[in-house]
Symmetry: C2
C-alpha cells in the first residue's frame, strides 16, 4: 500500500536521522561547535552528502541538534517551575536546575549558547534573528508562567514578558560567568540570584562614607 510504504520509509529515515544526530552529538561534544561536517560524517561512518540530504545544510543539522537538547532542558525547567512549593522555593529550584544542567554538560551548553551561525545572505540586519533560540524559548516559557500565575495589573502581560526574558538573561549571564570562574558553590549562586530577584539590591544600605547608590 502507498501509505504503509511511505510510513515505513519515513520510519526508516527517522531512525537514520536519529543515528546521525547522535553521531553529530558525539562530535560536537568532543570538538566543540566548530565541528566540521566532514568530521561529523566520518563519525557517523558516512560522507557529507548524506548529511546534506538529511538536514539541508549545517544550520539545519545544528538546529535539529539544538532542538533535542533545548527540549530536554526545557522539560526539566518546566518540571521545576511546576513543583509544588512556595514561590521563592520554586524560583530557586528552577535556577538550580538550569545551573546544574550547564554544570553537568558544559559542552552542550556552549553549543547551544554559541550557535555561531547566521547565514550572512542579503538580509539587511535582522537583529534578534541570530540570538540563541534557547534563550528566547526559555524567556517565553518563563513569561508564560509568570503571566499565568501572577496578578500584575493591566499591563501584566507585557510586564511578564519583559521579566521572563530578563530573568532568563540574568540566569544565563550569571551562569556563564560562574561556569568560567567558579567563584562559589552552586547553592550560593542560586541564593544570591534569588536575593537579587527578591529586591535585596533595592533594600541594601549605602556603605558608610561612600557616595551612595
Amino acid at each position: 500500500m502507498d501509505t504503509t510504504q511511505r510510513t515505513d520509509q519515513a520510519r526508516s529515515a527517522d531512525r537514520r536521522r536519529r543515528e546521525l544526530l547522535e553521531a553529530a552529538d558525539r562530535v560536537v561534544l568532543r570538538d566543540g561547535p566548530g565541528a566540521s561536517m566532514n568530521a561529523i560524517a566520518a563519525e557517523a561512518g558516512i560522507t557529507k552528502p548524506i548529511l546534506y540530504r538529511h538536514f539541508g545544510d549545517k544550520g539545519g543539522l545544528y538546529a535539529a541538534l539544538a532542538k533535542r537538547h533545548t527540549d530536554a532542558l526545557l522539560d526539566s525547567l518546566r518540571a521545576a517551575l511546576d513543583a509544588p512549593a512556595e514561590r521563592r522555593e520554586r524560583v530557586e529550584q528552577t535556577l538550580d536546575t538550569y545551573l546544574a544542567a550547564i554544570e553537568a554538560r558544559p559542552q552542550v551548553y556552549r553549543f547551544l549558547m554559541h550557535p555561531s551561525e547566521g547565514g550572512q545572505q542579503t538580509e539587511g540586519f535582522d537583529v534578534g534573528k541570530h540570538s540563541a533560540p534557547l534563550l528566547r524559548r526559555m524567556g517565553e516559557e518563563l513569561a508564560h508562567v509568570i503571566g499565568d500565575r501572577l496578578d500584575l495589573g493591566p499591563a501584566g502581560e507585557q510586564l511578564a514578558r519583559v521579566w521572563g526574558h530578563g530573568i532568563v538573561g540574568m540566569m544565563h549571564a550569571a551562569g556563564d560567568w560562574w561556569l568560567g570562574e567558579r567563584p562559589c558553590t552552586r547553592a550560593e549562586l542560586v541564593r544570591s540570584l534569588a536575593d537579587l530577584l527578591w529586591g535585596r539590591l533595592a533594600a541594601a544600605g549605602d556603605k558608610v562614607g561612600g557616595p551612595g547608590f
Copy 2:
C-alpha cells in the same frame, strides 16, 4: 635618535591602525559580522596581508574593533552610573543608556554581542573564553560599583559580582528581545526592569484561582 625614530614610527603605525579600524568599522556596519578580510581590506584601499601585519588575525582585528566600541559604551555607562541621583533613578538611567545605545546602532550591538569567532584549534573546551567580552566587562564594572557603594555584609564582594553579571545579563537579554520585537517603548522597558530589580516579582500577588507562584 633611536627613541624619536621609534616614536615617529609608532605614531605613524598607530595612525594607520586607526584608519584601518575605521574602514573595518564601515564594512562591519554595512555587511555585518560576517564581513570578510578581503572586503575590509578593499574598503581600506589595500590588501589582506597588511591587515594581518597590523592585527595578526581576524580575531585580532575584531578584538581591536570591539574594544573601541566597548570602551565607548562603558564610558557612557560609567557616566550614568556616577550621575548624582538616588539609587532607583540611577539604575533607570543606566538601563536607559544601554538600551539607547543598542537602539541607536543595532549593527554595532550585533557585532559586539555575536563575535562568531572562536578559532577552532586544539583547545579542549574553554567555556567562558568565548562569551562576548563586552558582557563580562560590563558585569565586572557593575560589580565593582555595587561592591563599592553597597553595604552587603561579609560575603558582599561575592554577592556584588553575582549581581553585577546577573543584572548585566538581564539587561542584555531583555534588550536583545526588545530590539527584535519592539513590544513597548524604551521607557516602559526600563521601568519594567527596574521594577523587577526592586522586588516586584516577589511582592506580586497570586492570580485568583491560579495554582500559585
